[in-house]
């Protein structure tokens, strides 16, 4: 489902297997426990997280088929993703999404929850599919989109045109930081960027707090969206 590897000061989180990496409760739990592991590592505040995936998909979003067969799971997946995103926002280290496949809806949101998006330019797109599948975007998704997609035209293209955004188009729109020739090159570039960031030697705890401040609106939207029965928002920053 997902693996966690440590390479020096880099944590490599990989969504494994050739499937769509749909964000079902199990995968979300796996990712969250990998993040917990990362947090508790003694060198975490001088490290960098790189998230990537195998196969054709980064993630194709929530497991809608599962939700259709068992409706209460809809709210469970939403709650788990919100906790994960809150956790990523407070994570005491820079985060890089090495997008080597399609990232749709909640999958696009997961990519956007990272500080940097590096993407392959030969295949794959970022796609906020909700309008095409007749779903209204949750308020906290919109909050992330407003924070991360700054140009009004780009915001409109993401949410209201439901554009399928290639890496180079993402560069133009200010969503993608850099584009690369292949999946391998993308991950390699992410590793290089990670190593460069580690060399700068910033304090991860301070970094995490600054990110929380920058994305305060998103944390607020997540916080006000949670129902009492849906567990704890895991945004504990460890200063």
């Amino acid at each position: 489902m997902c693996t966690l590897e440590k390479r020096g000061r880099l944590f490599l989180l990989k969504l494994t297997g050739d499937g769509e990496h749909r964000l079902n409760p199990t995968l979300l739990d796996n990712i969250r426990s990998a993040i917990t592991q990362i947090r508790s590592d003694p060198s975490s505040s001088q490290s960098v997280l790189i998230t990537t995936s195998d196969g054709k998909f980064f993630s194709n979003g929530y497991d809608l088929a599962l939700a259709a067969s068992d409706p209460p799971l809809r709210a469970v997946m939403a709650a788990k993703l919100q906790s994960l995103v809150a956790d990523l926002i407070s994570l005491p280290m820079p985060t890089i999404a090495a997008v080597t496949g399609h990232a749709s809806a909640a999958g696009f949101l997961l990519a956007m929850s990272h500080d940097y998006i590096l993407m392959r330019r030969d295949r794959g797109f970022l796609y906020m599919s909700e309008l095409d599948i007749e779903l209204v975007l949750p308020a906290w998704f919109m909050s992330m989109i407003r924070m991360k997609v700054v140009s009004p035209a780009a915001k409109r293209d993401v949410a209201l045109t439901a554009e399928k955004i290639t890496a180079d188009r993402g560069l133009e729109m200010g969503i993608v930081d850099s584009s690369h020739g292949s999946a391998g090159e993308t991950v390699e570039a992410a590793v290089k960027l990670g190593e460069e960031i580690v060399r700068r030697g910033a304090d991860g705890h301070v970094y995490g707090r600054m990110r929380e401040t920058l994305l305060r609106e998103v944390l607020h939207a997540i916080g006000s969206n949670e129902s009492a029965s849906n567990g704890v928002r895991n945004s504990g920053s460890k200063l």
Binding site: L131, L137, M142, L160
Partner: protein, 238 residues
Amino acid sequence: MCTLEKRGDLFLLTLTGDDEHRFHPDTISSVLSLLEQAKSQSTRGSVLITTAHGKFFSNGFDLAWAQAAGSQTGAVNRMHQMVESFKPVIAALIDLPMPTIAALNGHAAASGLMFALSHDYVFMRNDRGVLYMSEVDLGLPLPDYFAAMFAAKIGTSIAKRELLLSGKKIKGEEAVALGIVDSAAHDSVEGVVEATVSLGESLAAKKWNGEVYASIRKSLYPGLCTMLSLTAKIAASP
């Protein structure tokens, strides 16, 4: 004054006549009722294209009508009346359950530019027509919902300054560079209209649910919606 035509999936709203298409209580009321008509007739795949005849898209509020009140107080009251009655027009556009495209045939100034910017996509001519926020030159403050629109739709500080604080008349090429309009590629009004019809048809082909579309649009601009007293129905879960 203004007409609403249907061409397949496309609603065409046109400000008719060769005048400045100034917003006066009567025009405001006509435009509002045509927007309400489009809303009531909307189906999956509906799209609105708004354009005008002549040299002007719209040159703003009817200041002459305000002055004709005969007194300072009277003029101020009339201005206030136009500002207040125009708000529902803008709200209707932000709430409209279909994609909206402004095809600028000519100049768009003050509330005329506000009207244009209330659309999801804005196309203008390359060769003629300027965007002009005249308020700074006329000594008029911006209504609160105008300011909220600019905050929502104009992305950079530089573009905001050029548009609102410099009194500049911005031509097509610069408007595109500043990110204010989507396109200024055409040297004729026919070119602009054709381009917007083409975009309109490709958006119509998506057969989107208009209610979902409007809801997503409103959630893109929460500050503006608050000013317009529009609530976005936003789902709390997938």
